[in-house]
């Protein structure tokens, strides 16, 4: 499965970019993972995955950093806490927002050719 540049996903899904706008063109997404359980994501996501979740607290940044995920899409119109964004900026984790549900977001990512890596 080929990789997709994060910028293409942002444009295609109309995501609101909250952090790391400068690295969208250079960030490669190799797969996707969707879950709202921290232990599930830490155990089962893969490096380079784009993570879709409705969790918006700052521990999502710790997970994304530890697992070297390519970014986080917070779905369902949930707004991240300001600490989440500060932490994500420090750690270079792209945080993207969508008003779509997780189901819709994942469906569109799949349609773009993204798979579980």
């Amino acid at each position: 499965m080929g990789t997709i540049v994060l910028k293409e996903i942002v444009d295609n899904l109309g995501l609101e970019v909250k952090t790391c706008a400068e690295k969208l063109e250079t960030t490669k997404v190799s797969g996707g993972y969707v879950s709202d359980l921290m232990s599930d994501v830490i155990a089962n996501s893969k490096e380079g995955d784009l993570w879709v979740t409705i969790q918006a607290h700052q521990n999502i940044v710790a997970i994304a950093t530890l697992r070297e995920l390519s970014g986080v899409i917070i779905a369902n119109g949930k707004q991240p806490e300001s600490e989440t964004l500060e932490h994500a900026t420090q750690e270079n984790v792209p945080i993207l927002l969508s008003n779509l549900t997780s189901f819709e977001v994942v469906g569109r990512l799949y349609q773009m050719g993204l798979r579980s890596s």
Partner: protein, 147 residues
Amino acid sequence: MNDEVLYRKRFDIQGRDFSNAGNVSSQVKAVLKEIGIEAYVIRRTAIAAYEGEMNIVMYADKGELEFLIDREKIQLIFTDQGPGIEDINLAMQPGYSTAPPEMQEMGFGAGMGLPNIIKNADKFEIQSEVGKGTTLHVIIYHSKHPE
């Protein structure tokens, strides 16, 4: 010779401090990367470190991690001053959790913490005393997993 400690570091972990939760695991991971441990071993250690750290953050007043590396293995020793675990066998069952609803809403306390640690450890020991605290000892061999 293999037991000679090449690297040792002690980290404090503050209970209920969700804003810094994950920092200790990130530092552990950074050390392993820097000394060139295999990616597969780093992944397993990072998962165990994260879950051990989160257990202290979620349940204990405070705790610490002692992180040791020798020629053949990585050791993570978590010690906390926490409530202790009443029934260790139950706590090790996937899906069992005593986390309060507000933590579960944040996606913690899914009952996967100890199972994740056990799955990624080569050796695992747990000791706990109700009202006193819990110690977790995780060993992951690094020389046996070339990748």
